[in-house]
Amino acid sequence: MNLQRKIQQLLKPLIQPMIAVMIGLLTGALAIALVGESIFGTYKVMWDGAFGNFYFLTATLARATPIILVGLGLALAFRAGVFNMGAEGQMVLGAVCAALAALYVPGSGIVKLFSAFFAGFIAGGLWSLLAGWMEVKYKVQLLISTLLLNYVAVLFAGYLVAEPFQDKSGSAALAQTPMIDQSVWLPKLFAGMSVHMGFVIAVVGAVIFYVFLQFTSSGYEVRMLGKNPFFAEYGGINKHKVLLFSMFFSGGIAGLAGTVEVLGSQYRYVEGALTVPGYAWTGLMAALLANSNPLGTAVAAILLAALQTGAMGMERNTEVPLEIASVIQGVLILFVTAKFTLSWWKVKKKAGDVNGTV
């Protein structure tokens, strides 16, 4: 009885996402069938594209890296009860400042590397703090201001790399900074694979964040502020301080997402390279899917990245159009937080109870 309950409890949170995955896959199957391709084969290709062998696995992890970090940053803000929608701007500013620091701070590679991390974190953090400060001081709603500040940040970063800091070497056609010296690059984890040190940073970050949130007193303050700000204030928690702190670190971590992309993958800031893939939105989804649990966010981020790399595999190897992947992804995510179990599971449980008593 007790064991059964334990197992039920363990399985319960999995049921909903599984149903969502089923619905997503069924919709996809329908679309694939419409195009006249083999459903099973296509899904196999998708799976292979995401996890098929070590190479694809690392590619998935590489793609997950910025998503994890963005997700973690947002999760921190959500935990503190503020809805930070500004990850994109924070990430972009972090990226561009990290790139500039890596390029122009004098000194050895290691000095540049640290300054780049510092710059990326601070830039993202301050940008986010600005929204927090406007909220605390002037009651300017954070949800709107962060959304708006994204545009400003992206445009400003675009200006920096289109005008004063543009790469004038080579073909000089893109809005991008010059390439960063090799000594500042984050090392790849495996030769010839795209996953880099940033992934380790992200995972370690998730663990640290988890420990911080769950076991430290500051983490406790953040959580209580998110759960009931009045209770937090009553208990002696400095509401504004914790909020600003959370926003600063939230943006800072998003800034790190940009930083590791620059230092580990692109080796320069390229306009659009961080915004077009929608890392910020995917990170937002990861955080929400995991209910802002840091470890869950990391897992969700990897799964979302896998969906994307899987879709790329599908695009390469089948005639199924790429859009099908975004349809599958859309349907899947649409229902992934759905509470299907609410009625279905209950009915089942009742039936089980009756059986038990008879």
Binding site: G81, K139, L143, L149, L155, S326, Q329, I333, L334, K339
Partner: protein
């Protein structure tokens, strides 16, 4: 200086109408307690289905209907996920954006056998209405003259929505649902029905917004042609406090700034800075409108927990 002229304002009115329509749709959702970040997707669905309707029927009226219908279909999906299955509205909204982008691109391929954009020079766009009386109004006559019917419809819809929400019984109940869902339920109000109703209506409004985009402003469909307008609508909605009249104000502010930023491009300022103008001005405006739209924020915050 030639920064301000009639064409500036006329252009602002044209460009603002899809945003206004969508923001009204978003406001309806917010009013029943559902924060809808899927506006972008809803508009895109409307834009695409309007083109499909137009292409097959050759009739603009049918196109408007199919445009609205496209918005409704997608909004029902959104409603199903958020109301029936209690999915997190923000996640569901983002999903809707992805989904519609994929579906419409796929649809371009499947229906029109093209990639990227569908354009047919024989396709008729929405007519421009030369309303006879309006032209004669001094000063603003010129601004209001010669727009597509959906432009007038957008402003009309705002006023209609205002009357609906604040003067009718159903509107009153919708407000009640948004303010305190638990209380509304305990009163025996048909909360779910009202929520679906609001979502469907928001689907219609966003569908029309899309129609105005694909058949009013231009006559074509291109992949991702909403280009972020859904998010601007979201901001306009929040800034306007989910109040129809407030939304007219916030949309117009945004449209005007956008139109102005285009004109400023000529004035030897980097275009990135001129393009920032609407966003910066909106942020500044928020300092004066602090308390607006708290409800929509609250709904957003709730879903984060």
């Amino acid at each position: 200086m030639e920064l301000f002229d009639y064409s500036l304002f006329a252009s602002a009115i044209r460009m603002v109408s899809p945003i206004l329509l969508a923001a009204l749709g978003g406001a309806l959702c917010a009013r029943v307690g559902i924060f809808n970040v899927g506006l972008e997707g809803l508009i895109l669905a409307g834009a695409f289905s309007a083109i499909v309707g137009n292409y097959y029927s050759g009739s603009v009226i049918v196109a408007v209907l199919t445009g609205a219908f496209g918005g409704v279909l997608v909004s029902l999906l959104f409603g199903l996920a958020t109301i029936k299955f209690k999915a997190n509205p923000i996640v569901a909204g983002i999903a809707i954006n992805f989904l519609v982008l994929g579906l419409t691109t796929f649809g371009l391929r499947a229906i029109f056998q093209v990639k990227g954009a569908f354009y047919d020079k024989d396709m008729n766009g929405l007519p421009k209405w030369d309303l006879p009386l309006i032209e004669n109004i001094p000063v603003i006559g010129k601004l209001l003259y010669g727009h597509s019917p959906l432009v007038y419809m957008a402003f009309f819809a705002a006023i209609l929505l205002y009357i609906f929400l604040f003067k009718t019984v159903v509107g009153f109940r919708i407000l009640a649902v948004g303010k305190n869902e638990a209380a509304a339920r305990s009163l025996g109000l048909k909360v779910t029905v009202l929520q679906y109703g609001a979502i469907v209506a928001s689907g219609v409004l966003c569908g029309l917004a899309g129609t105005q985009l694909s058949l009013g402003q231009v006559t074509m469909f291109t992949e991702g042609m909403t280009a972020g307008r859904g998010f601007i609508a979201l901001v306009a909605m929040m800034l306007g406090g989910s109040h129809p009249i407030g939304i007219i104000g916030s949309s117009l502010l945004f449209g005007l700034m956008d139109a102005m930023s285009i004109r400023l491009q000529g004035f030897s300022m980097p275009t990135q800075f001129t393009a920032m103008l609407p966003y910066v001005i909106t942020i500044i405006a928020m300092f004066f409108l602090k308390d607006r739209g708290l409800e929509s924020q609250a709904s957003g915050q709730q879903s984060s927990r």
